[in-house]
Symmetry: C2
Subunit: 203 residues, 2 copies
Amino acid sequence: MLPKALETLIEALGELPGVGARTAERYAYSLLKRDRHVSERLAGALAELHSGVKQCPVTYALIDAAENVSPLYSDTARDKQLVAVVEEPLDIIALEKTKQFRGTYHVLGGAISPIDGVGPEQLHIPELIERLKKDHVQEVILATNASVEGESTALYIQRHIQESDIEDIVVSRLARGIPVGVDLEYADQITLTHALQGRKQLS
Amino acid sequence: MLPKALETLIEALGELPGVGARTAERYAYSLLKRDRHVSERLAGALAELHSGVKQCPVTYALIDAAENVSPLYSDTARDKQLVAVVEEPLDIIALEKTKQFRGTYHVLGGAISPIDGVGPEQLHIPELIERLKKDHVQEVILATNASVEGESTALYIQRHIQESDIEDIVVSRLARGIPVGVDLEYADQITLTHALQGRKQLS
């Protein structure tokens, strides 16, 4: 019933995460109603995506295809002996936005999740261990997600470092507690437990 | 902080209706993680969109660029003397899915909305009047949305037909009432009023 070009687009848009037939229809129709340069710009950006982006061979962050290493690593102002370990490249953006971190990053490429068939061997853990030795890292911050998978991954890495021959290294984890703006009565039990255990002495 | 190719894509995806920065990031990152042919297929579909689709010069439905007139109009099995007037091309799909309508369609290209600067002159109303005459239409079903804009558009067209020199034409409107599966207690007052007024005698 729909023109073939429109149907092909609706089908292709349906590949985006969480986009069903209705949403894909709405996207396609809105692009059709707008100036053709909007869809052409999107088409161009998509065509350039894979060739324009690569993984940093040291930190596994996403970098321009023209770069050798992540600018967040090559920047001499950043402390290479302080490493934040994150699951995904976009987690770096979240941490960078705080402007509070002057160390470097290491992207695992996911979290250990037996259900999804992701074991530690699929993550960049051996490369992390190598880097901890090579850069004489003094502190590694495990900044994985606060999910079951993130917690198990952090635990796995912590044990892995303990069992390795790396000495004099501090392994830390992001604090768990009540996020800004949340009323105590709405906080869940586990978060409150973490907040109690991690309470800060004021004086 | 992000590779340029990824940032360009996130920006372009942000042009989709209802897609903010976070959703655009999620879409872009998911495409990056998947096989490159997924984004290339989407890029191709986008590039072909405007050249592959055009408006039917009679019904204003969306048709393949290679076609002259909408297949739903040229089909001899369909009753040209029965016309359903809809706001947007996608409304045709919704009505066709019922498999209950054997007439033809006329797309207005929107609804009268002074706030959005859409007046009756921007809609395909003169072309509708022409068509009612030319095809000797016997019934026109005003299938605009049940919104304020849809209702005013229907009212406007109804008056326009009455004031024209077209005689012996039935102008009807889709029934208003309680949709399937909705409990009476949750139906709004206006819908219930419509349902009462439009009640059907059973015996």
